[in-house]
Amino acid sequence: MTLLNNTSTTEPAAQTPSPPPGLRVSVRKVLSTGFELSVDFALSSGINILFGPSGAGKTTLLDCIAGLSTPDSGHVSVHGQVLFDSARRIGVPVTRRNIGYVFQDLALFPHLSVESNVAYGLSALSVSERNARVDRLLEAMGIAMLRRRRPAELSGGERQRVALARALVIEPSMLLLDEPLAGLDLPVRMKIADDLRSWIQNAPIPVLYVTHSRDEVFMLGNNLLVLELGRLIVQGTPHAVLSAPRSETVAQLAGFENIFDAIVTSIHEERGTMTCRVRGWPGEKIYPDAGWRGIDLETPLIRAVQGDKLRIGISAGDILLSTAAPVGLSARNVLAGRLVSLSQRDTTIVAVVDCGVEVRAHLTLSARDSLVLSPGSAVWVIVKTHSCHLFQPGKEAK
């Protein structure tokens, strides 16, 4: 809530100097369900990705920015113009915020043609000005030939384009997109994303883009924000965020619940494998204990030399647990450890095992029942060679 004081004095000096960031948000809202949204961030122009599991509060956050929902307290401003400030009792009504908002279900007006949908927000303009703007947007979004159709007569991708055009035609001061491309084929998504990106380049405004899709994160984002249970847990470039995925949400985004820093210790070209010494979670201090040497994992062979630093990602669903030392297994990696905790998430059991590094494994409910596991018990973690996915820091190596 430091933003509510004089922003110029509280802003860290390291941040980019003068032009005020496009969007500043610092809001808190408790829903009737008890869910609490509490975030504080600033965005500049361009596409910013908001990622988070369902129920993380993404739509609530967007509604607070648009003014459809009133935060309990906080501050929202775009380009320095205050839209909401609980301390100063400012609350610009939703109808005067001039924010483009594409809803998750698009909310096209079913009784209006494509043309009328796009022109809907322009009733204050003269007819000629309105037509000129509508034509420009229909052209840019590639839907000019559909202008007389009703939303029911459009394909999914066409509808998404109409919704984007309707949001952009009012020349908004910023754009909120709630999973605008969900449910579309990848080629269609990429095409629409391209059109959106080129429009934003010509009219630089802050865009907050909610998505569940990894492809879209890498396709569109220069800045990634991860929301979990109403809290912003990390913000940065997609690569920076993914290189330290200590949270489940980020791991889910990366696709791996286990990510380790490792060094290539030996290469076995004739067998197509190599051995990597795991040194811990990224960002964690290497060698947690003085006597700890790390653990060795056999991984698939990639183009690397001895001593290369790598990152190993292992999906929690690819890991087997055993309560007795296994014999006669094809899997090459068997690590002894102790069970730290068991927790249930929907119908999946998340087991955390300490093998020198913490390893997360997913079990089914019946597997938990038949194994008789409790914290502290000795377990063996089994990982197939080909379940180890290798990254070179910064990019995927495979």
């Binding site: 079913p110 809907y120 927000g121």
Partner: protein, 224 residues
Amino acid sequence: MDWQAFWLTIQLATVVTGILVVIGFPLAYWLAFSTWRWRFLVEAVVALPIVLPPTVLGFYLLVALGQRSPVGRWWQGLTGHPLAFTFEGLVIGSVLYSLPFAVQPLASSLSSIDRRLLDASAVLGLSKLRTFFRVLVPLSLSGLITGVSLTFAHTMGEFGVVLMVGGNIPGITRTLSIDIYDQVQDLNYSAANTTALVLVAIAFVLLSVVYSLNRRFWSLWPRT
């Protein structure tokens, strides 16, 4: 066929339908969008005329409009004649009696409209009033036509309230349904038959309109 009664009935139904569109739309809007916890009480009150005997409604109206009530006295002071046994009194009774037939289809239509459309309209800068005319009215058109048809048909055919509040004054309160009753009392069956047939025909046409637009109008309450 008593044409005076026929035109009086048409006139009554038209006026009542007009009034109920004006009253019914805001009431239906409130019922469809209110989150007030006691909203169901208002729903129940609006639906009362469906189940109450017309004589009950007529009786209370007679008391409320009579010379002993403040409303009746106020009206008499204003116009010089009492409200009971007049066309105006008939209109008030019919409006109350047909209220659920106008409000229910409208509320049902309105509540089936996606709320995000209203949000979309607000984000695009349109006030609630303009959103009402540009989104809610067009999207609840079938509910509006259903409500208008049902109100009209129901008002044309009502008997009990009219008899209680209006009596049987030719040209003022004598509607077609009263006329049929009179004819039968006089054992004039063929005249009663003609009039009855006219009412059946009108009701059939109006209900055909309703059902051609909307196949489930009896499951009308929103959010059931």
